[in-house]
Symmetry: C2
Subunit: 238 residues, 2 copies
DNA sequence: TATCAACTACCACTTAAGTTGCATAACAAT
DNA sequence: ATTGTTATGCAACTTAAGTGGTAGTTGATA
């Protein structure tokens, strides 16, 4: 991307807000940004695929992407992650050269940056800043997937649902962040459950006045009471 | 560790076999190895803990460790990984400084090397070889945990069990490698199921002459027939 | 070689959670 | 406004898989 491009400074500033790029020196970040070009996708489109992530790395500027995997025998789907502004994809393909079987769907209209993955692999060695910034992100991803697997084995659907809600509640605003504007079906696919089960639990939470429910949106009424109920069900879980 | 230590060259050669350390130049590897000291643990002991992995990094020389997480409300346990010679622990704690709640149990008598984790963090920057070698290992870990979570959501217990068996069958010898000498209970905890369920499936596989079963050991009779049965149950899964 | 603990096989039983179906409600598009 | 589409609520039903118990085996160890 040329520095003269209309949105260049917009992209630059967005990256400066991102946890991955924020700590990179400006001159290095300029070098990195110059290798990207921008793309736009409308909601419900597929901004990248199992194939494209073999050859390109993407940085999300605005909007969210749902990353999911399918079992085509049972039509079951599992949403493994929802990425938002500042996130990189696919970090796994950056580290090795195998295919990664996923389906990426835009949850909103979105804008992203793409660069050849081979170029990004070089950054790891020629820009120590980039390398240094990426490592904690890898740690975060590792913890995320380990926790997902752990939760599926150790906790029931109610607990997984409430964990999801609590984890995505913005401490400042009290609103749900990344998982807002999702249907019960999508929420079910995130916690490895079924639409109906999620609906049952949400009704229960509504009836106990812990949640306010509107179409495609949840709001916690009283976070302390919700946590209390959570602890009542899982006393040993901190 | 001093170069003159009795087992120094044994450790050095073991590291040279490991996927992580094998591609590191000898002189760098010597520098790294000098920061380690060796420890021995008997089967069923705890070679490291949630606390100790905050301050030390470990490399396994011989024997296996089972890494698990507990739900103390239900007494359910999930074995998230089994590590063997050449593996590093804890890679997550190397990348960030949060605690990692796990229980590590020696499955065999074992020998390992320990070094201060802060020192290992420096290697990432002062030894590009180490950094370069670690990245694919992180990719492997990421894929491992993502696959674990995915399998739990998308596939039933039979499929998860057979995937575990197939994944751990040595292509050369046809024998099970890391998961050998485990009880049904441990196998159940690895696939997020119950001892009884695993037993049922193993009996079925034995009765269809796909497996030979002995106390704490499984052997595949005919891998082609097993894969055939696997495909019959999961036609779309490659 | 006797004792004990751990592992395995095989029951019968329970249940959380998945499945199906449909009616109503909300929203989106024209 | 009308129509079509998607989301939600709710109830009846099914089932995979978990629970609990017991008896028999095996292997370790005293």
């Amino acid at each position: 991307m040329e520095k003269e491009t209309a949105n260049y400074s917009y992209y630059f500033n967005t990256l400066k807000q991102s946890p991955i790029f924020s700590k990179i020196e400006d001159d290095v970040l300029h070098k990195i940004l110059r290798m990207f070009h921008s793309k736009k996708y409308l909601k419900d489109n597929y901004p990248f695929t199992s194939e494209s992530t073999m050859y390109n790395i993407y940085v999300i500027i605005s909007g969210r992407v749902e990353i999911s995997v399918m079992n085509f025998d049972t039509d079951r789907e599992y949403i493994i992650d929802i990425l938002g502004p500042g996130d990189i994809y696919d970090v796994i393909c950056l580290l090795d050269k195998k295919e990664h079987n996923i389906i990426a769907t835009a949850l909103d209209d979105m804008e992203l940056l793409a660069a050849p993955i081979e170029v990004a692999r070089e950054w790891l060695y020629i820009h120590p800043d980039f390398n240094k910034a990426l490592l904690p992100y890898l740690g975060k991803q590792l913890r995320h997937f380990e926790e997902s697997a752990t939760d599926l084995v150790l906790y029931d659907t109610w607990t997984r649902l409430v964990k999801l809600i609590l984890r995505n509640t913005d401490n400042d605003t009290g609103k749900l962040s990344l998982i807002n504007n999702l249907s019960h079906e999508q929420i079910a696919k995130m916690i490895g459950s079924a639409r109906n089960v999620v609906n049952r639990h949400i009704q229960d939470l509504k009836n106990s006045q812990l949640l306010s429910v509107q179409r495609k949106s949840l709001e916690i009424n009283n976070i302390h009471k919700l946590i209390e109920e959570f602890k009542r069900r899982n006393p040993f879980l901190i």
